[in-house]
């Protein structure tokens, strides 16, 4: 079965510091991978998606970037964090059907 790992689970970072969140998946090959963010009081916002190694598409312009160095690894980064980057970051992959997505446990990021 498919498993999604995310780390760290919780992160507190000062404004202006860099960020690197990692997502790795098991039990599947060549998955479509997604990064979502849930900000306080808001729904899930799609940030990036990737259909393969080195293939990244961005849904919204922002302070963040994503990379996919390996088939089952998806990384979310920032060079300088903003207060508005605080939120709950979720990695997801496409499930048994192209419509359903499976989510990882998430990373709670607080920018201070």
């Amino acid at each position: 079965s498919q498993t999604i790992h995310q780390w760290p689970a919780t992160l507190v970072q000062p404004v202006g510091s860099p960020l690197s969140l990692e997502c790795t998946v098991e039990g599947t090959s060549n998955p479509n991978l997604y990064w979502y963010r849930q900000a306080a009081g808001r729904g899930l916002q799609l940030l990036f998606y990737s259909v393969g190694i080195g293939q990244i598409s961005s849904e919204v312009p922002q302070n963040l970037s994503a990379s996919r160095p390996q088939d089952r690894q998806f990384i979310l980064s920032s060079k300088k964090l903003l207060l508005s980057d605080s939120g709950f970051y979720l990695c997801a992959l496409t499930g048994l059907t192209p419509y359903e997505q499976y989510f990882g446990p998430g990373t709670r990021l607080t920018v201070t």
Partner: protein, 114 residues
């Protein structure tokens, strides 16, 4: 522009009664609709879905209804149980640029009171 809207941020229901969660959408391109359930500090988990060619899909205590003309879907939970207390996200999907683009609503927090 919020293409998927859940206008009720919270809902309280007595155990054993019916919970009805509502969702409205604006984009006619959506052809698949889903409900996800999320507990605090966890990722959402898929609950139930419905294709745009249907108007009802049932899975145990959970039923999703789709009214395409009104661009409205709802999730019914009968009977409601305390373990159903969670945030429920409505999502709508269509194929775009080679991948399934999923748009989520803002969520409704359901509290089932024992």
């Amino acid at each position: 522009d919020q293409q998927v809207k859940q206008n009720s941020p919270s809902l309280s229901v007595q155990e054993g009664r019916i919970s009805i969660l509502n969702c409205d959408y604006t984009n006619s391109m959506f052809d698949y609709f889903l409900w996800y359930k999320k507990y605090p500090a966890e990722g959402p988990t898929f609950l139930i879905s419905i294709s745009s060619i249907k108007d009802k899909n049932e899975d145990g205590r959970f039923t999703v209804f789709l009214n395409k003309s009104a661009k409205h879907l709802s999730l019914h939970i009968v009977p409601s149980q305390p373990g159903d207390s969670a945030v429920y996200f409505c999502a709508a999907s269509y194929l775009s640029g080679g991948y399934q683009k999923v748009t989520f609503g803002t969520g409704t927090k359901l509290q089932v009171i024992p």
